[in-house]
C-alpha cells in the first residue's frame, strides 16, 4: 500500500491535524483493552463529522485499504485492534450529545459520546441510559453499539441492542445510511438489529438514537455473604424461581473478594466464600414487596450476613468492589486474562465445580466474578508472565472454560464480543453453514472485506462464491488481508 499517497488524500479531505502517521503518535492506538494484542496501524484519522468519516471510508475503498473504527478503546476482545497496513478511524472527536428528548424518551448522540455522560445529560429530566458496562465512565456509545455491550443491569433492562433505536452509519462503500430512528418498528429488514453487535464489520456508526429509561422511583440494594458459591447460586435460583427479576444480581467468589479488598477496601463480610449483590428497582410499593422476598431467599440459602444499603453512598460502596473487580485482580496477580462466557443460570454450580477442578489440576488460579442472574461468567485467570509456561497454562485454562460454556449449552461471549480474540472459537459454537450464512450478511454490506477484517470469523468468505467447500488457499489469505485460525 502507498501510505504516503493515502495519507496525503486524507489530509486534503479532513485536514492535516486529523491525520496521524508519526510512529510515536500511532503507538497510542496499537491496542484496545485487550492489551496483549498489539498492531501498529499505518494511519490514524480523527474525523469530526459524518461527512469526514465517509470521506475517509471512500478513500480507503479507492485504495483498497482496510480500516478499523475505534471509540475509547476499552473493548476486551481486540475488536478495535488496528490492521497493520490499514487506517484506524478514531471517533474521539465526535463526542456530542446532540439532543436529549425526554417527551420521546430518546437521546441522539455522536459515536464518541461517553456512555455515562448520556445518563448524566438525561438525569435532570428524570431519565437515564440503561446499559451500564463496568467501563461506562470512559467507554463510547459507538463502541457499545459495535459490541452490543451489556452491564450489570441488563438482567432486567436488556443490552445495548434493546436500547438503540436508530443509527446513522457510514456503510463500507462510503454511503451514509439511516436505519431506524425515534419511532418504533421501522418497515423493512431490521438491519439496525444486525448492525448492533456486528463489531465494526458492517460499517461505522456516526450517530445513535438511544432509548432513555425513566429513573426508577425506588432502588434497593443488598449485599449477602455466603459460605460457598453453591449457596449463593441457590439463592439466585430461588429469587428468579419466585418470579422476581431484580435489576441486577452479581456474584463474586472468595478470590475475587480478596482482590477487591486489596484494591478498593470495599469491606465485604470476612470469610465469605461468595457474596451476592442484589439490586431491585421500580415503583416503591413493588420494590418493598420484592425486597422482603429476596432477603428471605438469601437467608433460606444460608446467607450468614445481609447488609442493606441505607443510602446512595453505601450502595456505591457495595458496587465499588464489584465494578473494580477486574482491575483489582492486578493486586493479587501480575497478569490475568478476563474471560467472558455464558451458561444457563441453572448450570452455575456444576460449571463452577468444573472450573475449580480445572484450576486444581493445572495449578492456575481462577477468580470468579459474574452476572449471576443471566449466567454471564467472568472468570479471571491469573498468571505471571515472567514465569515460563504460566501464560500458556493460563491460556489453556481460559480456553477450557469456554469449552465448558459450550458443553453446557451457553456461549463463548456474553458481552465482550468475539473480536480478534475468539474468532478461533466460533467453529466450536457454530457449524460451517451457520458461519457461512452469517457471512452472507457481511457480503451484503462489505463485499471487499475492508471494514474491520479478520474479526469475528475464523475464515473469511469470498463474496459471490458458491456455498460449499473451499479448495486451496483463500484469495484474501493469499493477499495477506486475512488469516486462517
Amino acid at each position: 500500500m502507498d501510505t504516503d499517497h493515502l495519507a496525503a488524500r486524507l489530509r486534503s479531505e479532513i485536514g492535516a491535524d486529523a491525520v496521524l502517521t508519526d510512529r510515536q503518535q500511532l503507538r497510542t492506538y496499537e491496542c484496545d483493552g485487550l492489551a496483549h494484542y498489539k498492531v501498529m496501524p499505518a494511519i490514524v484519522v480523527l474525523p469530526h463529522t459524518t461527512d469526514e468519516v465517509a470521506a475517509v471510508v471512500r478513500a480507503c475503498v479507492d485504495a483498497k485499504v482496510p480500516y478499523v473504527a475505534r471509540g475509547s478503546g476499552t473493548g476486551l476482545s481486540g475488536g478495535a485492534l488496528p490492521h497493520a497496513d490499514g487506517v484506524l478511524i478514531v471517533t474521539s472527536q465526535m463526542r456530542a450529545i446532540k439532543e436529549v428528548d425526554p417527551p420521546n424518551q430518546r437521546a441522539v448522540v455522536e459515536p464518541g459520546a461517553i456512555n455515562l455522560q448520556v445518563t448524566n445529560a438525561a438525569t435532570p429530566y428524570g431519565y437515564y441510559y440503561a446499559p451500564d458496562p463496568s467501563s461506562q465512565q470512559i467507554c463510547s456509545i459507538g463502541g457499545n453499539v459495535a459490541e452490543n455491550s451489556g452491564g450489570a443491569h441488563c438482567l432486567k433492562y436488556g443490552f445495548t441492542t434493546n436500547h438503540v433505536l436508530g443509527v446513522e452509519l457510514v456503510a463500507p462503500d462510503g454511503d451514509v445510511v439511516r436505519l431506524g430512528g425515534k419511532a418504533p418498528d421501522p418497515p423493512g429488514y431490521d438491519l439496525l438489529g444486525a448492525f448492533v453487535g456486528s463489531e465494526g464489520t458492517l460499517g461505522i456508526a456516526t450517530e445513535a438514537t438511544l432509548r432513555l429509561t425513566r429513573t426508577p422511583e425506588a432502588v434497593r440494594t443488598l449485599l449477602a455473604a455466603f459460605s460457598s458459591t453453591d449457596n449463593a447460586g441457590g439463592a439466585v435460583s430461588a429469587i428468579i424461581g419466585a418470579g422476581v427479576i431484580p435489576a441486577a444480581i452479581e456474584m463474586m467468589d472468595a478470590l475475587a473478594i480478596e482482590a477487591a479488598e486489596a484494591a478498593v477496601h470495599c469491606d465485604y463480610p470476612h470469610d465469605a466464600g461468595a457474596v451476592l449483590i442484589v439490586e431491585l428497582d421500580g415503583p416503591a410499593v413493588e420494590v418493598d414487596a420484592q425486597f422482603t422476598a429476596v432477603e428471605a431467599h438469601c437467608r433460606a440459602n444460608g446467607a450468614f450476613e445481609i447488609r442493606v444499603a441505607t443510602d446512595d453512598i453505601e450502595r456505591a460502596l457495595f458496587w465499588k468492589g464489584r465494578k473494580s473487580a477486574f482491575a483489582a485482580v492486578g493486586r493479587i496477580s501480575p497478569d490475568y486474562i478476563v474471560q467472558d462466557g455464558v451458561i444457563p443460570r441453572t448450570a452455575l454450580p456444576d460449571v463452577l465445580r468444573r472450573i475449580a477442578e480445572l484450576s486444581g489440576s493445572s495449578g492456575v488460579r481462577v477468580a470468579n466474578v459474574f452476572h449471576a442472574g443471566d449466567g454471564n461468567l467472568h472468570p479471571l485467570v491469573l498468571f505471571d508472565e515472567a514465569v515460563p509456561g504460566q501464560a500458556d497454562a493460563a491460556e489453556a485454562v481460559s480456553g477450557a472454560i469456554l469449552d465448558l460454556c459450550i458443553e453446557f449449552g451457553g456461549s463463548i461471549t456474553g458481552e465482550h464480543g468475539v473480536g480478534m480474540d475468539k474468532a478461533k472459537y466460533m467453529p466450536r459454537m457454530f457449524t460451517d453453514d451457520d458461519l457461512d450464512t452469517m457471512q452472507l450478511l457481511r457480503c451484503a454490506f462489505d463485499p471487499e472485506h475492508l471494514s474491520n477484517p479478520g474479526k469475528i470469523f475464523p475464515t473469511p468468505r469470498l463474496c459471490g462464491e458458491v456455498p460449499g467447500r473451499r479448495k486451496g488457499v483463500h484469495l484474501l489469505q493469499e493477499s495477506g488481508m486475512a488469516d486462517i485460525f
Partner: protein, 415 residues
C-alpha cells in the same frame, strides 16, 4: 407428467404430507400448485432443495392469520405449511428460556409455560397464530410497552435458507454476542429471507396480579396528554392503549402488573392521573385486538415517536373527514397504532388517506404500512411506502435468496 413427478418428490421428503393446492391455499388471491407440510427442519431443507431444483416460488405459512399481510407475491408455486413443525423442544424453567418449533400455536406455547408460572411476554391478537408466523410478521401487542417486542425476546433461531441449507444463530442463553444476530433479520421479514423452523425465547414470570383501568377522555389531544403522563409516571404500566373509533370518544386503557400490594397502590395513582370516570377491572373488548377483521378490510399500521401520538390520532380524524372515509384507530402509547378502513372504501380514497397519513406520520419520525387490503386497493398504492436502507436490504436478499424464490414481491421495495 412433470407436476406429478414434483409432487412425488415432495411426498418423499415430507412423509407423504404433500398434495396439489386447492382454492383454500391461495395466497393474496393467487393460486398455488402444491402444498407441502414438512414436519422437521431437515424436511424443510429437503422441500427447499426440491424447490430450487424445480425452480418453484415458495410461500411459507403457519395458521394463515396474516398470510394476506404484505404485498401480494409475484407468484406462488409451493405453499410450505409449517403447522406440523410443532411442539416445545425444551422449556428450561429455571433459566426462563424456551425452545419451540415454529409451527406451534402461540396459545399452545403459553399454556405450556403457564404450568410453570411463566410466559412469553408477547401479545398475539389472533389466537391461532403460530410462533413462526408471529416472528415473520413481527407481531406485537399492548404489553410491548414493558416487555418490548420479539427483537427483545428472541434469543436464538434455526432457519432454512432458500437453497436448503440449515443455519442457526444466537443460542439458548439470554446473554450472547457471538456472531451476527440473524434472528433480528428474520423477525418481520415476511418469509423472504428463509423459513424459520425453531426459535428460542427469553421468558418472564406470570405476574401475581394485574389490573386494567380505562377512561373515556373525549378528544385525541386529551388522550395523548394522559398517555404521556402515564408513560412518564412512576407507575411503570405494562401497557397504555388508546382507542379512537371512527365515531365516538377516545378511550385510554392502562394495564398494571405486579404483586397484589404493588398493583393496588399503582392503580390508585393511575386512577388519579386518568381523572374521573375510570372503569377498573377487565380489559375493554378492543384491548389488544386489531380494528380490522378480515382481509376484505383495509388494515394499516402507523408509527410515531411517543410525543407524536395525539397529533397522529388527530391526523387520522382529519384524513377521515377530508376524504369522507370512516377510520377507526387504536394502539399503544409506545407509538404503534393500527387503523381500519371499511371494505367498501374506494381504492382511490384509501390511497389518498394513506398519502395524508404518511405525510403526518413522517413529521413524527414514523411511517404507515398497509398491512392488508382487497386486491383493488393493493393495486392502487405502495403498501410499504418509502423505506430507508432499501439498497442494503436488496443486497441482503440477493445474498440469501439470489433467485428470489421465497415470497417474491411480498416485502418492501418489491423484495
Amino acid at each position: 407428467m412433470t407436476s406429478d413427478a414434483i409432487l412425488d418428490d415432495l411426498r418423499k421428503v415430507c412423509d407423504d404430507a404433500a398434495r396439489p393446492a386447492d382454492d383454500t391455499d391461495m395466497v393474496a388471491d393467487l393460486p398455488a400448485r402444491y402444498v407441502a407440510s414438512p414436519a422437521t427442519t431437515e424436511q424443510v431443507a429437503g422441500v427447499l432443495r426440491l424447490a430450487t431444483e424445480h425452480d418453484l416460488r415458495v410461500v411459507a405459512r403457519g395458521a394463515r392469520t396474516k398470510l394476506d399481510w404484505g404485498a401480494a407475491p409475484t407468484g406462488v408455486d409451493l405453499v410450505l405449511d409449517t403447522t406440523r413443525i410443532s411442539g416445545v423442544v425444551e422449556h428450561a424453567a429455571g433459566d426462563l428460556v424456551v425452545v419451540v418449533r415454529a409451527g406451534t400455536p402461540v396459545e399452545t406455547l403459553q399454556a405450556t409455560l403457564a404450568d410453570s408460572g411463566q410466559q412469553l411476554a408477547l401479545d398475539v391478537a389472533q389466537d391461532a397464530a403460530t410462533v413462526g408466523g408471529a416472528v415473520a410478521t413481527n407481531t406485537s401487542g399492548p404489553r410491548r410497552m414493558l416487555y418490548g417486542t420479539l427483537r427483545d425476546l428472541l434469543i436464538g433461531i434455526t432457519f432454512v435458507r432458500a437453497d436448503g441449507v440449515v443455519a442457526k444463530a444466537g443460542g439458548k442463553v439470554v446473554k450472547n454476542v457471538a456472531g451476527y444476530d440473524f434472528g433480528k433479520l428474520l423477525i418481520g421479514s415476511y418469509g423472504t429471507l428463509g423459513v424459520v423452523t425453531q426459535a428460542a425465547f427469553r421468558l418472564h414470570p406470570l405476574p401475581l396480579a394485574s389490573r386494567v383501568l380505562s377512561a373515556e377522555v373525549g378528544e385525541a389531544e386529551e388522550a395523548g396528554r394522559m398517555a404521556a403522563e402515564m408513560v412518564g409516571s412512576q407507575v411503570v404500566p405494562s401497557a397504555v392503549e388508546v382507542d379512537q373509533p371512527a365515531d365516538g370518544p377516545v378511550t385510554v386503557a392502562v394495564l398494571i402488573e405486579g404483586t397484589e400490594d404493588g398493583v393496588s397502590g399503582r392503580a390508585a395513582v393511575t386512577a388519579q392521573l386518568l381523572g374521573t370516570g375510570v372503569a377498573d377491572g377487565q380489559p375493554p373488548p378492543w384491548f389488544g385486538r386489531y380494528p380490522f377483521e378480515s382481509s376484505a378490510e383495509v388494515g394499516l399500521k402507523l408509527t410515531t415517536e411517543i410525543a407524536g401520538l395525539p397529533k397522529l390520532l388527530t391526523a387520522v380524524r382529519h384524513a377521515a373527514d377530508r376524504h369522507g372515509v370512516p377510520i377507526g384507530v387504536r394502539g399503544s402509547a409506545t407509538g404503534v397504532l393500527y387503523a381500519a378502513l371499511l371494505a367498501s372504501t374506494e381504492p382511490a380514497a384509501v390511497a389518498a388517506v394513506v398519502e395524508d397519513l404518511r405525510a403526518a406520520a413522517g413529521s413524527y419520525a414514523g411511517s404507515v404500512v398497509v398491512l392488508t387490503a382487497p386486491a383493488a386497493v393493493r393495486d392502487a398504492l405502495d403498501m410499504w411506502g418509502q423505506v430507508p436502507g432499501l439498497d442494503l436490504m436488496r443486497r441482503l436478499k440477493d445474498q440469501l435468496d439470489p433467485d428470489h424464490r421465497l415470497a417474491p414481491g411480498r416485502f418492501v421495495g418489491g423484495i
